[in-house]
């Protein structure tokens, strides 16, 4: 893990892989809960964890550098959520073709894999779900659709994602869910927070 300065009030932890990101994400959230770290935002991403809104970036870097995170096996503290999914997406057969399997096998692969919210971004409540084996990554569409409906379940790169609201999007649509994933009247407002374990079960 490397620590990079980000201005006067933030630092970026650069990790080797998604598993180390999750380990540090869980460790930093735990330390903040315990009052050992003051930070406004802790933002995991693909290979990094941003710690933003610290009183002093230099002091925070020294503090974090002295910590050893709990091993990954202990940090699987996320809630488990089954997302009922109707597998009828417009790009499902194209994904099956990319994987060189039939559509039923593609659905079994997606629904049979336990995924995990690696990070959120792009839009409020949009979660990047990882957990697919290497080699299942699919390219984005050559040009994004102008409108993807809310609840669309889609794949891009190594990730799965569910559009919380209608928006343009270039991910490959494999299905849809009626589950409401972002509601500002709930606490937390997003059902899929970093660390949440997810299965996209056939509805």
């Amino acid at each position: 893990m490397w620590i990079r300065p980000v201005g006067a009030r933030a630092l970026l932890l650069e990790c080797a892989d998604s598993a180390e990101v999750e380990t540090w994400r869980a460790e930093l959230w735990r330390r903040r809960e315990a009052g050992e770290l003051v930070a406004v935002d802790i933002v995991p991403a693909a290979r990094t964890v941003l710690v933003d809104g610290v009183p002093d970036a230099g002091e925070a870097a020294e503090l974090v550098a002295g910590w050893t995170p709990r091993p990954a096996a202990d940090s699987r503290d996320g809630d488990y959520l089954e997302v009922p999914t109707v597998y009828d997406g417009e790009d499902l057969s194209a994904v099956a073709e990319l994987w060189q399997v039939d559509v039923d096998t593609a659905v079994a692969r997606i629904s049979g894999t336990e995924l995990r919210v690696a990070f959120c971004g792009f839009a409020p409540g949009f979660a990047y779900l990882d957990g697919f084996p290497d080699g299942w990554a699919v390219p984005r569409l050559p040009s994004p659709r102008p409108r993807v409906p809310a609840g669309a379940v889609a794949l891009a790169g190594p990730y799965a994602g569910i559009y919380p609201s209608a928006s343009p999007g270039g991910w490959r649509l494999v299905g849809r869910t009626g589950m409401r994933l972002f509601d500002v009247h709930r606490d937390p407002p997003a059902r899929l927070v970093p660390g949440t374990r997810v299965r996209l079960v056939p509805a």
Partner: protein, 302 residues
């Protein structure tokens, strides 16, 4: 316009009516920090000092919501008698057709029209109303986020907005210095987190040449034009969290400074981060920007 606003109108004793919304007028408070891990931007007033001052001038708590205008001002009508104050970009203010001073509390009779003209200098004026704008908060904030769509939509002609009860009198001692925004901004930066994705020439260009704020700038970011910042590392950076004031460099090499409504993650490398974005709140397109600051490298874990 929207459901919540209509129901609020019935429940509240006081409201304002938007007669002329202007080019971009939004409801702003101090934003919604602490939700970035869910993809929710911070948002909030571009000039939080001006917002706080406007609120103090009318007796509101500093974090109350007010209107943020953009260059073109706005016109509202108060349903009941109240107190307003305008801060930020200076502009002609008229109440009931009569010119009044900005930068201090102004008594407004019931039914009177408050006209805030175009900004004479700067970009954003703040119109605070005693009691504050009390649209329903979203994740603890009433701010309009132009990127994610959270909070009330930008105002349109004919909107009505609820105003809360007045809790205190106007502050008697506040002072508004009338300092015009400079034509050239000196912005202090710290290099990183991704300066190593750029050539040494790029770092020299960033710190040694002038940039101009482009006309496509908005609440999400200030787009700059000037010497391109060449990359030393080709390819895509995996998405990572970005902060207010990050100087991100898209594929065309022209830097972009992230402002209040910036996305929570980004995939272009950030060459440097500003210590303070406040001067950009009132910087018009065409303003010259110069960066200066210490050179910092990556810190290895001991």
């Amino acid at each position: 316009m929207s459901g919540p606003r209509e129901s609020a109108r019935r429940d509240e004793a006081q409201w304002i009516e938007v007669l002329r919304a202007g080019g971009l007028t939004t409801v702003q408070d101090l934003g919604r920090p602490g939700w970035a891990h869910l993809g929710v931007p911070r948002s909030g007033a571009m000039d939080p000092y001006a917002l706080r001052l406007a609120n103090r001038l009318v007796g509101n708590p500093e974090p109350a919501a007010a209107l943020e205008t953009t260059m073109t001002g706005c016109t509202v009508r108060l349903h009941r008698a109240g107190t307003v104050a305008v801060t930020g970009a200076p502009a002609v203010l008229r109440v009931g057709g009569r010119a009044v001073d900005t930068g201090g509390p102004v008594a407004v009779p019931a039914g009177a029209v408050v006209e805030l003209g175009p900004a004479r200098q700067g970009v954003r004026s703040y119109l605070a109303i005693a009691g504050g704008i009390t649209v329903e908060p979203v994740l603890g904030s009433r701010a309009t986020d132009t990127l994610s769509g959270l909070g009330p939509a930008p105002l349109t002609d004919g909107d009505t907005l609820p105003v809360g009860p007045v809790t205190a009198g106007p502050a008697p001692v506040d002072f508004l210095p009338d300092v015009p925004p400079p034509a050239e901004l000196d912005l202090r930066v710290r290099l990183g987190p991704r300066q190593d994705w750029f050539t040494p020439e790029a770092v020299r260009a960033l710190l040694g040449t002038a940039y101009t704020i482009g006309s496509m700038s908005n609440r999400v970011g200030a787009r700059l034009a000037g010497a391109a910042l060449p990359r030393a590392v080709p390819g895509e950076l995996p998405s990572e969290g970005v902060v207010l004031g990050a100087v991100q460099v898209p594929a065309d090499g022209q830097p972009l400074i992230f402002l209040a409504d910036h996305p929570t993650t980004g995939g272009y490398p950030v060459i440097a981060v500003l210590d303070d974005v406040l001067p950009l709140a009132q910087a018009r397109p065409g303003t010259i920007v110069r960066f200066h600051g210490p050179v910092a490298g990556p810190i290895a874990r001991p």
